[in-house]
Amino acid sequence: MTEPAASDEMIPPGGPGSEKPIASGNSLSVWLWRTGLIVALLLVWEFSAGNLFNEFWSSRPSLIGERLLALFANGEIWRHLGATVSEALLGLLLGALAGTPIGIALAKYRRAAEIVDPFVMGLYGLPRVALAPMFILWFGISLLAKVMMSFSMVVFVFILNVTEGIRTVDPDMVDLMRTMRAPKSYVLRKVTIPSIVPWLLASFRIGVGLSLVGAVVGELIGANRGLGWYVLRAGGQLDTTGVFTGLFVLMLVAMIANQIIFLIERQVLHWRPATR
């Protein structure tokens, strides 16, 4: 696993946080441009639908807004939102809980890591979406099936990043602790764990999106609730407004989750020189 497959599930070689921030997010002009762009896009959408082409194909922002309000008004949204968010969240947490110790073990026992490497990379390379039918077979259309789907997407992110994180622990720091006869538990607490925290947080950042993918894929295959199911059902009824409404809520969930991770990162990694 020395040469991990280039993928957006991995952290750049300079370590987590070394990537260039896409936008600083704090400058006023950036926000003005963003708002302007969104408004312009929505306006174009709103007025071209029904004029340039049949609004059946694209719906329009005003209809989506109305649907959204209706879903919130009658409370139906919570059933779907709650299902999808809890599936993704459970999958993410399980992925972290299982992936972190596996990652630590793979970094610690190099020989074992060498032996299982092709298996891990094979599973990692397998499009896990293709496992969905099996999961439905094994776990039914229960919550568990979607959680497992989500878990299978996320767990490799933690395994690979934690392994890499532990391998980048500064050996001089560990040697220095050894010269002061520090107990193993002390080294773990003061050196190893803080070194992998940035990698864990980066894994969460990447994992949020993937866990949602897992949950939605699970819902597309077999469910009776959830945002993925809502989108699927709307599509089946040729209800484009419903499809777009579901997609919009999913996007919102992902953005909020990302923002939460970002805030946690800023809290926990305050010792780092400003990277963003």
Partner: protein
């Protein structure tokens, strides 16, 4: 800050003894001899400097005393005890500051206090003393990333002193610093050492730094490291490093060491 084991060893017995030690490394192209039958002794309260070309194996000797690598043959002992694994009361300083970036200045120095087993109730006072000694009091809440290179090295020195080592092993500790900061750190180290003498074994490839600091300078050959010359530096203490540079005795020592280094293979700086 008297060292805790002052009584253990008969006064006059050397603190560190290295007897006929050889060390080699496994490399992809076979074993590489880094240290070739070296013998030396460091007395308590003695400041010994090892000079030699970069990569000659001086650091390997230091790491072996600290128990980080094993000697292949020969015996290393600290305070009369044979070294296998890190001995007690050893302070080590690397060329890099090796501070824990997620801890503040205070947190980093506290590592030394904690590992020395200083009771929690006594830590704040010791910490305040150390930070004052190293002129770091104002920065106790700063993280390493916010400090200059020189300040990070002072924190690193503070962490080592907090551990109350009887022996300080310093592996080119100021090698990465610019000329002025390096001189300032040298003065700082001497100031602290002259008030509270412990054994120091200090590795450098800077001859002037070696003569300015040392009681005794051991000159090493290019790899594999062998001792090719030994100079006792009889310059009075406390030393004024600035005045020292123009002192004829000082320049006599440095040129003698230049000469010793020049023997054999060309020196690679």
């Amino acid at each position: 800050m008297a060292s805790r084991d002052e009584m253990k060893v008969a006064a006059g017995a050397p603190r560190i003894v290295i007897d006929n030690v050889s060390i080699s490394y496994a490399t992809p192209r076979g074993r590489l001899l880094a240290v070739d039958r070296v013998s030396l002794a460091v007395d308590r309260a003695e400041f010994v400097v090892l000079v030699g070309p970069s990569g000659c194996g001086k650091s390997t000797i230091l790491r072996a005393i600290a128990g980080l690598n094993a000697a292949e043959s020969g015996v290393i002992s600290v305070d009369g005890k044979r070294v296998d694994g890190p001995p007690e009361h050893i302070g080590f300083m690397f060329q890099r500051d090796t501070l824990l970036p997620w801890l503040t200045v205070r947190g980093n120095v506290e590592v030394g206090l904690e590992l020395a087993g200083v009771a929690p109730a006594r830590r704040p006072a010791r910490l305040a003393d150390l930070l004052a000694l190293l002129r770091l009091s104002e920065f106790h809440d700063a993280y390493p990333a916010q400090l200059s290179g020189g300040m990070r090295h002072r924190v690193s020195l503070g962490r080592m002193l907090a551990y109350q080592p009887a022996v300080m092993l310093m592996d080119e500790p100021f090698g990465a610093l610019d000329f002025q900061t390096k001189a300032a750190m040298g003065r700082e180290l001497l100031r602290i050492w002259e008030t509270e003498r412990r054994s120091i074994l200090f590795v450098t490839h800077d001859i002037e730094e070696a003569v300015a600091l040392a009681d005794r300078v051991l000159v090493f050959s290019p790899r594999p490291a062998r001792i090719v010359a030994e100079h006792r530096i009889d310059l009075p203490r406390p030393r004024n490093l600035r005045r020292l540079r123009t002192d004829p005795a000082f320049t006599a020592y440095t040129s003698a060491i230049w000469e010793a280094l020049g023997d054999g293979d060309p020196v690679t700086a």
